[in-house]
Symmetry: D5
Subunit: 163 residues, 10 copies
C-alpha cells in the first residue's frame, strides 16, 4: 500500500471522537472501529471503493447514503459482516446533527469563518454571473487536495454545485 494509505504512530488514521459518537448513527462507530483496526486512511478506502475520499468520510459520519455496491465493498475491505452493515447503513441519513454552530474546533471554525466573511461576496458575484437562483448543496461534489510550494503546504478545497 502507498504510504498515505496507512497510519503511523506520528500520523495516525482518523478515528471517531468518543464524545461525538452518541450524536451519530450506529454505523459510524462500526465503520470507524474497523477502519482503525485495519489502520486505513480515507484515501485508501476511497481508492478501494472508487469514490472520492471526502465522500467516503461523509458516509462514515452518516452524512451520505451508501449504495448496495458501497456496502458490499466496505464489508469486504473492512471485514464487517455484510448483513450487519446493510442493517446499520439502511437508515435514511438524518444529516448535519454532528456539528455545533458555530463550531468550536479551530479547524472547523476556519471553514465557517470563510463563509461568514465571504458570504455576501459570493452571493453578489454568483448573482451577477448566474442571475437569481441558488447553488445546489445536493447535486454537488467536493474534494480536498494538497499543494506544496516553497512557502509550505496549501489546502485546496473545491465545491462544485448545480445552479
Amino acid at each position: 500500500m502507498s504510504p498515505s494509505n496507512i497510519g503511523t504512530p506520528d500520523h495516525p488514521v482518523a478515528t471517531l471522537d468518543a464524545s461525538l459518537a452518541p450524536r451519530l448513527p450506529t454505523s459510524s462507530t462500526t465503520l470507524f472501529t474497523a477502519k482503525k483496526a485495519k489502520n486505513l486512511t480515507f484515501q485508501a478506502i476511497g481508492e478501494a471503493l472508487g469514490r472520492d475520499e471526502v465522500a467516503v468520510a461523509a458516509l462514515f459520519y452518516g452524512q451520505a447514503k451508501a449504495t448496495s455496491a458501497d456496502i458490499g465493498a466496505l464489508a469486504e475491505l473492512l471485514e464487517i459482516p455484510q448483513e450487519q452493515l446493510e442493517a446499520e447503513l439502511g437508515e435514511w441519513p438524518d444529516r448535519g446533527r454532528s456539528i455545533d454552530l458555530p463550531p468550536k474546533d479551530p479547524l472547523l471554525y476556519r471553514l465557517f469563518e470563510i463563509m461568514q466573511n465571504y458570504g455576501y461576496a459570493y452571493k453578489a458575484v454568483m448573482n451577477e454571473k448566474f442571475g437569481d437562483g441558488i447553488m445546489s448543496a445536493i447535486a454537488f461534489s467536493t474534494k480536498v487536495e494538497k499543494e506544496s510550494d516553497e512557502v509550505g503546504d496549501w489546502v485546496k478545497i473545491t465545491l462544485r454545485g448545480k445552479w
Copy 2:
C-alpha cells in the same frame, strides 16, 4: 465592454441591500452607489483593478482592506473623490458582522449547509493528509467560476489556504 461587465434590466448589477447598510462601514454605501451609477459588475471592476472579482466584492462589503493602489484605481474608475475614499477605506476592517448565523437567505444558507454537512469529513481528510494543524482563513484566496454542460450551469468555488 464585454457583456458580463455591465448590467441589463433583466440581469442587473449587484447593489447593496438597504437593510444591510447600517451593519457595514460607510465605504460600502459609497462604493455600491457608484457601482450602480456606472452599472458595472464585479468582474468589470476586478479586471480594472487587476484583482479577482470575489476579492473586490469582499472589499465592497468591508471584509477586506484596500491598498493605496486599490483606492486610487477605484476612485478613478468609479469617479469618487480620492480623498473621500481614502478616509472611508482608512479604517481597519471589523469583519464578519454583516451576516447572521445561520443565514436565512437560501443561497447563503446553502454555503453554510455544505460546511455543516461536510465539516467533520473535511477535518478527517485534512488530518490524514496534513497531520495536526489548521487551514488558514487569512493566508487564503478564493474564486468563483461558471461551468456549463448539457445538464446546465455549475458553480465552482475554490478555497485555497495555507496549512
Copy 3:
C-alpha cells in the same frame, strides 16, 4: 372588478406592518403603499400580472425576483414610475430576513407548527417514495385555495417542488 379584488372597511386589503418595513427592501414600502391607494387585493394584482397571488405577495415582501415584464405590469397597474420600480426591484433578493424563528404571530406560528409536528413524518414518507434526496425549495411553486363545506371554510395550501 370582482368583489374579492378590492378592499372594504371590514375586509381591508393587506398592507405593510410599519415595524416590519425596516427589515424589507425599499420596494416593499413602495408597492404596498400603491396597493393600498388602489385598494387592490393580491388576487386582483395576480390576475393583472398573470401570476399566482402567493407569488405576487412574495414579490411584494422582497422574497422573489421580478422580471422586466412584472415590473412593467406593476408600474402600469399601480401607477408607479417605471424607472423607480426598476431601480428598487433591481436588487437581488436577500430572502427570509422578514420573519422571526419561531414566529410569534399565531397564523405564522401554525405553519411552523405543522412542519415541526410532521417534519420527520414527511421525511420518512418522502424517503420511502423517492429514495435519498431533497425536495427543492427553489424549483418550487405554491398556492393557497379556499374550500367551503357545511362545517365552514378550509384553507388548502399546496407545495410542489422538484425532487
Copy 4:
C-alpha cells in the same frame, strides 16, 4: 404486495434514527422495530389501516394519538402483543419535541425554509381571502404525493386546515 410496499436493499424502508429515539416515546422504538422486521413501507401500513401514510408516520413518531382500532390493526399487522401496544400508545402525545428548530437535516430544512420565505405572503393572502383568523393545525389533514413529468419527479405536499 405492491412493489412500493416493501423495502429493497437499495430502497430500504424508513427506520428510526438511534440518536432520535431517546426524544420519542417508547412506542416509537417498538413500532419502527416491528416495521423493519416486516420490511413494510408506510404506504403498506397505511393501506392496511385505512389511513393516509403521513398520518401513520406521524403516529409512529408519537405526534398523533392512536385509536383502539388503530392499535388493534397495528398489533395484528406488525405482530406486536396488543397489550404492550395499548400500554405504550396509551400516553397522551407530547408533540413536537423530536425536531430541532431550525432543523439541520437538508430535507427538513427545506420545509422550514419554505415557511420562512413564504410566511408573510401566505398570511397576507389568507387575510385577504378569509379575513382575520388562523388556519387550524389540529382540524387538519395533510398528504404527500409523487408526480412525474419529463423533467423528473415532483413532490406535492397538501396542507388542509379549518379556518
Copy 5:
C-alpha cells in the same frame, strides 16, 4: 363618570411605554395618546364600546382586529378623525411581537411562570377531561376581575377557549 373610569395623580391611566412603541403598529401610539388626553381607563372605554376591557387593551396593543363599529365608537369617544383610525387600524394584526420571551417585567413574568409551573398539570387534566386535542387560543375570551377579602385584593383571570 365612575371613579375607576378616570386617572388620578396617584393612580394614572395606563399609557404606552416609549421604548415599546416601535414594535407596535402606528395605531397604538394614536390610541394611547388620545386615551391619555381624555384620561380614560380601559374600563371606561370598554363600557363605551360594549366590550370587555381586556379585549379593548389587546386592541390598543395591536393584538386584536377592530370592527367598523369599534372604529366608529373609538373615533367618537377619543376624538380621533375616523378616517385616520380606519387607515391605521385597517392592517391585519401581526400579533405577539410586543413581548420578550421570557419577559423581564415582574408582573408579565409571573403570568409566564404560572404557565411554566402548571403547564404539564393543565395538559394532563385537560387530556383526562377532554381527550386528545387542544384548547383554542383564537375562539377564546378572557377577563380580569378584582376580588377583595380580609387578606387584601385578589386578581382573578379567566381564560375560556373552545376545545
Copy 6:
C-alpha cells in the same frame, strides 16, 4: 367510581412521558406508575385527597410540595409504601424545569401564546384596577373546568392570585 374517575382504552388516564422523566424528581415516576396501575384520573385522586385536581397534577409533576396528610392519603390510595413516598417527596421542589420555553407541544404552546398575546393587556388593566404591584404566583390557586354548549366543549381556566 364515577366514569370520569377511571381510564378506558379510548380515553386512558394521563401517564408520564418517558422522555420527560429524567427532568423530574423520582417521586414523579413512582406516582405516575401507581396511578396507571390503579387506572385513576386526577379527578379521582383529587376527590380522595380533598384537593383540586390541578393541584394534584402539579404535585405529581414535582411542582408542588406535599404535606404529611397528602403523603399519607396518596400512600393509601395508590398502595405505595408510605416510607418510600415520604423519602421521595421529602425534597424541596426545584420547580419549572420540566418545560421548554417556548414549549413545542401544541397544547402547551397555546397557553403561552395567550400570555404572549395578552401580556401587556393584562398588565395595563391590572395596573389600572390595582395600581403598581404584581399578582402573586405563589399565594395562588387555579382550576380547570369543562363547559359544554351547542357549539361544543369549552375549557375554562381560572387563575386567582393575591395582589
Copy 7:
C-alpha cells in the same frame, strides 16, 4: 452640603449612559440631566426625599413607581416643571429591560455571579429556615452601605424580603 452629596472632577456624580437611554423611559433622561446640572449624588437626593438612595436610583432608572409626593419633591429639588415630571413619571413601570442577561459590565456581572454561585445554597438554607415558599422581590427593600477597616473598603448590600 456634605462632601458625599456633590460631585467633584475626580469623583463625578452618576449620569445616564447614552447608549442605555433608548431602553429606558423618557423620565430617566429628564431626571439624570437635571441631576447632573445640579451635580447631586443619589445620597443627596435620597436625603431630600426621605428615601433610601438605592430606591431613588431605581426610580431614576424607571424600575420603581414614584408617588405624588416623590414627584413634587423631585420637581422642586431638581427644578424640573412639575407638570412635565407628572406626565413622564405617570407611566406604570415596565421593569427590568435595561439590563442584559448575563450582564457584561464587570460590576453588574459580579452581582449575578454571586447569585449564580450561591443560588442553590440560599434556596436550601431558606427552605430549611422557612419551609416551602419564596422570598418576595416586591414586598422588598434593599440598601448599600460602605464599611472600612484596615484592609480597605467593603460594600455591604442588604436584601430584605417578605417570605
Copy 8:
C-alpha cells in the same frame, strides 16, 4: 439538638435533587446522602464546623473549597470515611455550573430578578460611594437571617464584598 437542627416530616432537611446531581461533583451526592441519613439541617452542620450555614451549603453544592479541617469535621459528623471525603473534595471547584440562567425555580428566579431590577441602581450608588471599581465576589461573605414581625416572616440576605 435544637429544633431547627433536625428535620421533621413536615419540615424535612434539604436534600439533593436527583436531576441536578449529574451537574455536580461526586462529593455533593456523598454529602447530601449522609446529611439526609443524619437528618441534619445546614444550621446544625454549620454550628458543628464553626462556619456560616450558607458557606456550608455552598460547599455541599461544590461551589466552595473545603479545608483539611472542614473535611475532618464533616467526616466525623456525617460518618463518612475521611479518605473518601478527602479524595472527593480534593478537586478544585468548577463553580456555577449547577444553575440555569435565567433560573426557572421561582425562588431562585426572585434572586436574579432583584439583581435585574436593581442592577444599575446598585452600580450608580456604588460608583458614587466608592468611585470606579468593583465589588469582589471572592473576598466575600454572605448570610441569610430570619426576622419576624406582626406581618409575618422576612428573609434578610447580606452580601459583603471587598471593593
Copy 9:
C-alpha cells in the same frame, strides 16, 4: 515624531467603526475623531499621557475611567475643549458592551479561541500554583509588544493580575 506615531496612507491610524459607535459612549466618537484629525497612533498618545497604549485604547473605547490628569492631557494633545471632555468622560464606564460574544471579527475571535482552548489548562495550572482563588481582572495590567525574528513578526500579549 517617530514613524510609529503617525498614520500613513498604507498604514492608517485606528479609527472608530461607524456601526460600533452607537454602542459606545459619546466620548468615543469625540476622541477617535480628534485622533484621526491629528493622525496619531495610540503609541503617540500613550507616550504623551505617560500610560501604556493598550490602556489608552481601552479608555477611547469607554472601557476604562479617565483621571482628571488624563482628561487635561487629552484635551491639550487632541485640541478638544476641556469642558466637553470632562462632561463626556464624567460617566462611570458601562464596560464590555462593545463586543459580541463570540466575536465575528477574525482577530477578536482568535483571542477568544485561545481562552476557549486553554481555559481549563490555565485554571488547572493556576490552582496548582496558587491554590483556590481567582486572577483579578481589575487589579490588572496588560500590554502588547512586537517581536521579530527570521520567521517574521510575533505578537506578545502580557496579562498580569492580582491573585
Copy 10:
C-alpha cells in the same frame, strides 16, 4: 521532588471534574487518574517531558496533540501501558468543546472578561503596530508565571503568536 511538584492535603493536585469527563476524550480520564495516583502537579510532569506545564495541561484536556515522544514519556512517568495511551491519544483532537461560552466558573470567566473588555483595544493597537492581519492561535505558545511582591501574588500570563 520539589515541593511544587506534589500535592498535599490542603493543596491537592488538579484532577478531572467528573461532570466534565463526558465532553472530553477517553485519554483525559486515563491521564488525570494516573496523575492523581502519582500525586503529581503539571509542573512535575512538564519538567519530566521537557514541555511547558500549560501545554501539558492542554494535552491532558484533549486540546493538543501528543507526539510519539510525549506518549512514551507519559506512559513511563505515569505507569500507563504505552499501547493504551497510543490508542487513546491517537485521535486528532476535536478542540474547544470542554468549555461553555461564556464560562460560569469565576476563574474562567475572568479570562473571557479580559478579552471582552480589552478586545477592541488589542485590535486597534495591533492594527497600528502590525497593519492588517491576525495573530495566530496555532503558531502560538503561552505560559503562566507566579510573581510576588509586598502586595501579594500576581499571575502573569503570556500569549505569543505569529502575526
